[in-house]
Amino acid sequence: MRINLTSVSVDDQAKALRFYTETLGFRLKHNIPLGEYAWITVVSEEAPEGTELLLEPAEHPAVRRYRTALVEDGIPLASFAVDDVEAEHERLVAEGVRFVQPPTDLGTVITAVFDDSCGNLIQITEEKGQP
């Protein structure tokens, strides 16, 4: 068994596609129209055959309540790995991304949390090497 797909619920699929590709730097993998919505997935440039991230419309009322509660407590919906959290933070802030948690050293890992402007908080993490 493999994890080939995971998802984030987004307010607006077109806006989300722009943010996840142009701002975060992921690559569009599928964009299949399905009536009102589309099946849109992105992948990492570093692993184009890896796990796909589905940008799923947040249409269900329970999804909105769930996301509101998570955002209130600052809980990210997804977590992405980066080589350098400080550098990504600097790059994304310059792109106008709002961080709710700046880079924070937690001992074995450095993390930061930003707003994806589509209704979610996203965490980025950097595993620290052995000293």
Binding site: D73, G74, V100, Q101, T104
Partner: protein, 103 residues
């Protein structure tokens, strides 16, 4: 809620330490710091209740930023401790017991 009870708990003191380290933290960030830096692995629900105690004692304030609820440390209530037991300027800090033993 009096401040003495509010700070008479290791977890609540650690929460204040972390809020002094960085103001304006979400519940998620605080929980991450408590487990990674203090080994405190209480549930988010438990930490949330500790935050309620600290807020009732006036030691933290909350504010919404965007759609997130963030927490700030407020030190003013702690002034009451220093006013109740003021530190004299000519205070003798030597330990009388140790001196007694040496003599």
């Amino acid at each position: 809620m009096d401040i003495y009870r509010a700070i008479a708990d290791r977890t609540r003191r650690a929460i204040l330490d972390e809020l002094v380290d960085r103001s304006g933290q979400s519940l998620f960030e605080l929980c991450g710091r408590l487990i990674m830096k203090h080994g405190i692995s209480s549930s988010r629900q438990a930490i949330s209740q500790h935050l309620d105690v600290l807020e009732a004692a006036g030691l933290i304030r909350t504010r919404r930023e965007g759609r997130s609820k963030l927490h700030w440390f407020v030190g003013t209530p702690l002034k009451a401790i220093g006013e109740r037991w003021p530190i004299a300027t000519d205070e003798d800090t030597s330990n009388p017991t140790e001196e007694g033993i040496e003599e």
